[in-house]
Symmetry: C2
Amino acid sequence: MNSVLDILKKNDLSVTDGRKKILDLFLSSEGALAHADIETNTSNAFDRVTVYRTLQTFVEKGIIHNIPTTDNSILYALCKDDCEEGHHHDNHVHFICNNCSKTICLDDVIVPTVKLPKGFTPNKTQMVVNGVCADCK
Amino acid sequence: MNSVLDILKKNDLSVTDGRKKILDLFLSSEGALAHADIETNTSNAFDRVTVYRTLQTFVEKGIIHNIPTTDNSILYALCKDDCEEGHHHDNHVHFICNNCSKTICLDDVIVPTVKLPKGFTPNKTQMVVNGVCADCK
DNA sequence: GTAACTGCAAAATATTTGCATCCTT
DNA sequence: AAGGATGCAAATATTTTGCAGTTAC
């Protein structure tokens, strides 16, 4: 029910205000979030450092993963349930809207496999599509 | 012949030591370069600010493009000849080696198109593959 | 009660901007 | 000679680290 608590407990994390609030943000957000988004959406209730550490913890536990971006920002998004620590199965496509700048996880669009040149062994593949999202079209 | 000069002239850029050296680095490097790589490989001959400005200029002119990364670094790689200002046709796959950390442009591997959900209009697609490269296997 | 989390301060790092000087054309 | 590029200084912004106080369990 209260999935925020479930997720934290499942990952052996103590339940604190910051973690609850930040995780809640991810659950209620359709897209990915940057560090700055989190500060804004929590009205700066938490220290910048706490946000850094919380995000880092979540990534280590496999609760969120980060999304490749072309600029120098780091975006984070919720991992699917089948993520394990360190090993994510977030093999879906990420979509960045050129209009509203939101990054959306297209959970239903699977990243296709590509044939690599001789000698290259793939391990993980990420795909980012830029364009106009359904809301903005 | 001296393609460094060709490229600079073609883009209406004055030929300076910094631009020559940095562009040369890209031409002679198989992979992508980060800001720090450039400083290192030029023995810090140029001011940090000059490197920032040079990279920015090159991106604006479409000489290089940046590559999405999962961490917060920015990687730059040469554009193919058919890049125009602002509109890049770098529709090839980028490969990041987990061992040597090099980023390699797989010019021959074309990014496949994926079917997006209703309402989404793609514009540009980028694909990054992690794994072990041919040199490290 | 203890281990872990948080906030503050400060250090370390990265990026941007203004301006005077130098170089390319 | 003129416009643009560079280097330096400094302002901003970002991220990391140490430590003391607080909180979850």
